[in-house]
């Protein structure tokens, strides 16, 4: 049985257990958000995806990412109140991550250009907004190489026991999901440096480009049952090879 409800007076359908933000986006409603990806569990950290949900006579503000849809609810994705609180939360985040392009842009849309707050005092990873996408991605991938440390005003993203984790394979998922690009990761042709470790790359046997870190390859082959030579050639060389084969057949 699908769940039926309304977003901005438009009737929509969803599967039970789906998150409101995902459903809204699928139906073309735009709700801003910084800490949500469909592939990781929602935690409602950034508080930007606020919407108003009416259920019967009761109405309240809630984040949409971690709200499981219910039959008959009526959702508004925009109102002066919603905009006011989104703006204030963005002002808080901009003060935390002043050089993040993504946050500056979004804040500007809400009329915030210069935060009224100074630089944040405890800030070991500059521009980090503690959305935990990195930790959630790492955990979801089964590596458990990153974690949150501490709480409240001393909360930060860090490594277990403050030392490089054996379980880090250098996949770089943490850096790529980061909305403010604040996780330092440096790649050369042969090595990737991240979280205090250097990982050797597997290089493409055709073009020599880095494909994947060796540790990541070993982990992927072991856990996903892929053939041993799966990562010997990079994606683009594989595509070229495929199209050449295809061309040979057609012509």
């Amino acid at each position: 049985m699908p769940i039926r409800f309304k977003i901005n007076d438009v009737a929509v359908e969803a599967k039970p257990g789906e998150g409101l933000l995902d459903v809204a986006r699928r139906n073309g409603f735009s709700i801003p958000s910084l800490c949500h990806l469909e592939s990781v569990p929602a935690i409602g950290a950034c508080r930007i995806c606020l919407v108003e949900v009416r259920r019967g006579r009761r109405s309240k503000l809630t984040t949409s990412c971690n709200y499981e849809v219910l039959d008959g609810i009526e959702v508004s994705t925009d109102s002066p109140e919603i905009r006011r609180h989104r703006a204030m939360n963005l002002e808080l985040l901009l003060a935390r991550a002043p050089s993040s392009e993504a946050i500056r842009k979004l804040a500007a849309q809400y009329g915030v250009s210069q935060p009224r707050f100074g630089p944040i005092k405890y800030n070991p990873l500059p521009n980090c907004i503690l959305c935990e996408l990195c930790v959630r991605a790492c955990t979801e991938l089964g590596h458990h190489a990153l974690t949150t440390v501490g709480r409240g005003d001393r909360k930060r993203i860090g490594l277990p026991f403050n030392k490089p984790a054996d379980t880090c394979v250098g996949c770089g998922a943490c850096a790529s999901v980061c909305p403010t690009h604040c996780i330092p990761m440096t790649d050369t042709l042969t090595k990737r440096a991240i979280w205090g470790q250097k990982h050797d790359f597997v290089r493409c046997s055709e073009c020599g480009a880095p494909v994947i870190t060796k540790k990541h390859r070993d982990h992927a082959i072991a856990t996903k049952g892929l053939p041993e030579d799966y990562y010997d050639v990079c994606q683009s060389c594989k595509q070229i090879a495929t199209s050449q084969r295809f061309a040979a057949i057609v012509w």
């Binding site: 930790v135 955990t139 458990h144 190489a145 990153l146 974690t147 949150t148 440390v149 501490g150 709480r151 277990p160 026991f161 984790a165 379980t167």
Partner: protein
């Protein structure tokens, strides 16, 4: 500190054995017991606890740093805990922490270089009638003032 090197793994194992293996619900209790054994949580003990309970190191470290009860660094021979509950606050607890901080040159949570004294705070121990309250090595000292503090802490070596 060289304390980490002198940790006997057998002492850790004895504490672990008192808890059900592979059950994360025992985690906070287990950390309390490890801390009772060592007065802080040595890294080796945390690592062993993580594998004993079958939780990732990340989760264990997250828990150990989230809860105020746990200390990841060795603490001093004496522990001065100032109650910073509301009743103690309105009766002048901040003056006590300020005074100890200044006299022993340590922040709250810090330990003197000679490992004699650690200064800590606690949210409330339910002895509000006696506020502001200092607990020195488990012993309660009520109706404290900076002037009285000097007397209570006079046996502790500075440095």
């Amino acid at each position: 500190m060289t304390a980490a090197k002198t940790i006997d793994p057998k002492r850790i194992d004895r504490v672990l054995a008192r808890h059900p293996q592979g059950k994360p619900t025992a985690l906070v209790n287990l950390l309390h017991d490890l801390q009772a054994e060592f007065r802080y949580l040595p890294e080796l003990a945390m690592e062993k606890a993580a594998s004993y309970l079958n939780v990732p190191n990340g989760q264990l470290f997250r828990v150990a740093t989230f809860y105020e009860s746990f200390h990841l660094k060795p603490r001093g021979k004496h522990i001065a805990t100032v109650c910073t509950g509301t009743a103690c606050h309105v009766r002048g607890a901040p003056k006590l922490t300020d005074h100890i901080s200044r006299e022993f040159e340590i922040p709250v949570g810090g330990t003197t270089k000679n490992m004699e004294l650690t200064l800590e705070t606690v949210n409330c121990v339910g002895a509000c009638a006696l506020g502001p309250l200092l607990i020195l090595d488990g012993e309660y000292h009520g109706n404290m003032s900076p002037a009285k503090l000097d007397r209570t802490l006079k046996t502790i070596k500075r440095g």
